[in-house]
Amino acid sequence: MSALNDSQREALMAELGGLRRYCYSLTGSAADADDLLQTTVEKLLQKGMPEDAHPAKWSYRVCKNVWIDELRSRDVRQRYPLVADENDESHSTEDVADGERELEAVSAALEQLPDEQRMTLTLVAVEGKTYAEAAEILEVPVGTVMSRIARARKNLMKQYGSQ
């Protein structure tokens, strides 16, 4: 596998916003999301990707693998303590406060889900991936995606109910 070529770089740049959002949904905070995204980008630059790989799917898969590595190798929440996002911009103070509170609440509910459910649900419900795309990214059968998402939604509703 060679270094990223220019068209792959451009395709990844186009995915960066979605990837960052996915990182946020996995980690639950802006600082952690940026760390995860940076590690993902560094990995992509170091390892490259096959010429025939789909850049979006490939980058989400790398992101997912980086996150799983983190979960396995250390206590992520200790390593990445929650830090307020200092970079969010351009809304009224009231809007920002409401938005941040809602984001914290939803992130807290997501955090209660098993990791594989959270990774799957956000890929589909937030990132808009199809089940087939999510299956490819997560390297699991489509049937597994279906059942994970259904369980994730069911569990999420319970979490919302308890908030």
């Binding site: 990223l4 979605g18 949904s25 938005g99 939803v106 997501l110 419900a125």
Partner: protein, 233 residues
């Protein structure tokens, strides 16, 4: 009637538009006759909406990560004739030759706040001395602006980091600054110490300027006007 796991899967696939038409129609019939099923679908749908809305503003990737992915420029571009005598290019080239840097790799390492190389080239007038420190710790000094023979606006710059140095030329291409040529070089000292490049100077950047510049570098006022206009002439 109790909701089964299969019901949740069906509702979930329905929300995600993953059901085939026949199964979807069958489910819609059930929804019209099973209030609890419909209520559950509504709750799932609301939960999805809440999820999407909550994360809608979290897609702003840090600028330095975009810089890391920005396509690396291929070498070589053209250099149009403008309004400065050729010897000024030689002088500038020798100035540049005096500096240098490890462009791409270090560019990819930026983790601290600060401007990017592109933003410095976009907004900072050429300087005879002094440096702008980038987010990745490198120092950069734009030294010259000119037009390439194919019409792109370009800037010659010096870069220095951790004792290594380079000089390069970057041109504005569809809104992005892309390096056309970059050459490692020794950093002899302040710009004031640099001597004009000689006729036999084989430096890559000097050669690039000779071959691709449109003749004359921009005056300070012309450069200032272009910077104010975001390099749109």
């Amino acid at each position: 009637m109790t909701m089964t796991d299969n019901d949740y899967e069906l509702l979930s696939q329905y929300l995600d538009q993953e059901l085939d038409d026949l199964t979807a129609r069958h489910l819609e019939q059930r929804l019209s006759s099973e209030p609890k099923l419909q209520a559950t679908l509504n709750r799932l749908s609301n939960a999805d909406t809440r999820l999407k809305r909550a994360f809608s503003g979290t897609d702003k990737a840090p600028t330095h990560l975009k810089e890391m992915l920005r396509p690396t420029p291929s070498n070589v571009v053209a250099f149009p004739q403008r309004s400065r005598p050729a010897w000024q290019y030689a002088v500038a080239a020798s100035l540049v030759a005096a500096v240098g840097l490890i462009l791409t790799p270090k560019w990819q390492d930026s983790t601290q706040p600060g401007p990017s190389l592109a933003s410095v080239l976009e907004t900072t007038p050429s300087m005879a001395n002094g440096w702008k420190t980038l987010s990745d710790g490198r120092d950069i000094r734009p030294v010259l602006s000119f037009k390439e023979v194919d019409g792109a606006w370009c800037r010659e710059y010096l870069v220095s980091v951790e004792g290594a140095s380079e000089r390069g030329v970057a041109c504005r291409d569809e809104g992005y600054w892309k390096t056309r040529v970059i050459a490692p070089t020794d950093l002899p000292g302040d710009a004031a110490d640099y001597r004009p490049a000689g006729a036999g100077d084989a430096d890559e950047v000097a050669q690039y300027l000779r071959e691709r510049a449109d003749g004359i570098a921009l005056s300070a006022s012309a450069e200032e006007t272009l910077i104010s206009a975001s390099w749109k002439d």
